[in-house]
């Protein structure tokens, strides 16, 4: 394993020191492993708290700031943070208007945020939670844990953050988040496995001529293994999987093509050219797009496509100012 780290056990603590050094505008609570924006100026606004296992940067710490998250709780690599972290975050950022937890649908994240919500309730903090479960590679069933939350999370955090910044009440911010979550679908592909630092070796072996379709963001194997294909064919499969699951022809769409950590931007643009063509062919109108590393899986090579069916409100909130290290415009 070759990584720019000091030791597997200190990766998260060290990275948080780096975040603190690079972003003096943010507060880093090392004890609770939180990245927070100052609350000054956000009085009366709903505070968005998200978090999850680390290794997906810039998600979530890179999305803390005006117009997006109030706090991010950082778990160990690929491990949900704990309820006490979430409670500490809620206590620090709540200005009285309540806290929205944005939770990716993994058993660990769900359970820990559930406990945190209970604890916050005990402390008199009003909370609501929205679950993101957008990965079409996973079959949706009431008998299972349901779908994973991946790229849709970025869109939910941005749009809900803008709604919060408008001063809307908790129920409305939660409803907007819910709407965006329900209107988002994603699908990813891996060219290589990632390597979890404490594991010290790749989570799975993938021969030089094979790829994994339908991977998540935790080095879990995908749904199917296939021969390495062209960017065109891969884009076609991502798009057809997503559009088979939800009809995106009805309205404008926000498209997010994220790298998974080990894939350079030039390749993402190559894929995005094919994605755009595949969408146009299907009569789907891309109103906004993002291409780059937004939600990653350590050093995995590959990409993940997210489409969100938007309406005027969602586009307006998408366009609203945001000022974070990972996403910034109008500010």
């Amino acid at each position: 394993m070759k990584k720019l780290i000091n030791a597997p056990a200190t990766v998260l603590a060290d990275a948080l020191r780096g975040v603190e050094a690079a972003h003096p505008e943010l507060e880093v609570d090392h004890e609770n492993r939180l990245v927070l924006r100052p609350t000054a100026g956000t009085e009366g606004q709903v505070a968005l708290v998200s978090g999850g296992g680390s290794g997906h940067e810039p998600l979530h710490s890179g999305f803390v700031g005006p117009g997006m998250l109030a706090a991010a709780c950082a778990g160990e690599i690929f491990t949900s943070p704990t309820p006490d972290q979430m409670l500490a975050a809620a206590q620090k950022v709540n200005t009285g208007a309540g806290v929205l937890f944005i939770v990716k649908n993994y058993t660990g994240d769900v359970l820990n945020f559930e406990m945190a919500a209970d604890l916050a309730g005990d402390e008199g903090i009003e909370t609501a939670s929205v679950l993101v479960a957008d990965d079409v590679a996973v079959e949706d069933s009431t008998w299972t844990a349901g779908r994973r939350g991946i790229g849709g999370t970025v869109i939910v955090e941005k749009v809900a953050g803008a709604a919060a910044a408008e001063g809307r009440p908790l129920a409305e911010v939660a409803a907007v988040a819910e709407k965006v979550s329900k209107a988002s679908r994603s699908m990813g592909v891996a060219l290589t496995s990632c390597t979890v630092p404490s594991a010290g070796k790749p989570s799975f072996d993938l021969p030089e001529d094979q790829i994994e379709m339908g991977v998540g963001i935790h080095g879990e194997p995908g749904r199917t293994r296939k021969p390495l294909a062209s960017a065109h064919d891969i884009a076609e499969e991502l798009v057809s999987s997503i559009t088979a699951d939800l009809d995106f022809t009805g309205g404008p769409v926000i498209a997010l093509l994220t790298g998974l950590g080990g894939t350079p931007l030039i390749e993402l643009y190559v894929v995005y050219a094919e994605v755009a063509a595949a969408l146009e062919q299907r009569g789907i109108e891309v109103a906004r797009s993002l291409v780059g590393d937004y939600i990653t899986s350590l050093d995995m090579a590959g990409c993940s496509l997210t489409l969100t069916l938007a309406d005027d409100e969602v586009l307006r909130l998408w366009d609203a100012p945001v000022n974070t290290s990972g996403l910034r415009w109008g500010a």
Binding site: G53, G75, E76, I77, F78, T79, S80, P81, T82, P83, D84, Y106, T107, G108, L111, N112, E114, M115, D135, A137, V138, E139, W143, T144, A145, R147, R148, V196, S198, A199, S203, F204, G216, H218, G219, E220, P221, R223
Partner: protein, 215 residues
């Protein structure tokens, strides 16, 4: 009374568990690589290292307090799915343990049954979903049967550990319906569930601790 389970025995259990989980951390992580995210060994090791540190710092007053401390420590140090689930196990065991300093076999059965019920209430997994419940549920049933037939606590927990082992082994062919492995669908078959192995380790070390104190 030889069959009494004291806080000292339980602490011995927890230290043995910490030791065994540390020794098996790589193995558990390897199992989690196959159908999860390669952190179960690290998670359990982190949690039980924290528990050992808590025990080193001073003993809780009684068994309910001990279990509560363990549960809270797991919840605040593990994260992931296993943190809240094992945390709940111990919190529920704490709520269902006698405060008078000792447990007999029946007490242990009651506590463990409540603990496992807590895991099921939290995680909504049933036997056959390919989770720790596949080891824990048969373990509790074996414990009950042993206790009902008059076994000592040590004997009963040894039977429970054997049942857990069988339940864990039986997860191999299953298609997961809960937890991270469920995302793999059919591809989750052919691998043992890591949580069922850590659960078995907990029961096996409990059996060792009880057998040692009984012998």
């Amino acid at each position: 009374m030889a069959d009494a389970v004291t806080t000292a025995t339980l602490q011995n259990w927890l230290r043995r568990a910490a030791q065994a989980l540390s020794e098996n951390a790589d193995y558990l992580t390897q199992l989690d690589s196959a159908i999860g995210d390669a952190d179960h060994g690290t998670n359990m090791n982190r949690g039980f290292t924290a528990i050992t540190a808590k025990l080193d710092a001073g003993s809780p007053a009684d068994i309910p307090a001990l279990f509560k401390t363990v549960g809270m420590t797991l919840i605040s140090s593990v994260g992931g799915a296993s943190g809240p689930l094992y945390g709940t196990l111990f919190l529920e065991m704490g709520k269902n343990s006698p405060a008078d300093g000792e447990m007999n076999a029946a007490d242990l059965e009651k506590a463990l049954r409540a603990g496992v019920a807590g895991i099921v209430a939290r995680g909504h997994a049933e036997v056959g979903d390919k989770t720790m419940v596949d080891a824990l549920d048969p373990a509790v049933e074996a414990l009950s049967a042993s206790v009902a037939s008059g076994a000592t606590a040590a004997e009963a927990v040894t039977a429970a550990a054997e049942a857990a082992q069988k339940g864990s082994d039986a997860t191999e062919p299953l298609v997961a319906r809960k937890g991270r492995a469920s995302y793999l669908g059919e591809r989750s078959a052919g691998h043992i569930d890591p949580g069922s192995v850590s659960a078995t380790i907990l029961l096996r070390t409990m059996s060792e601790a009880l057998t040692e104190s009984a012998g």
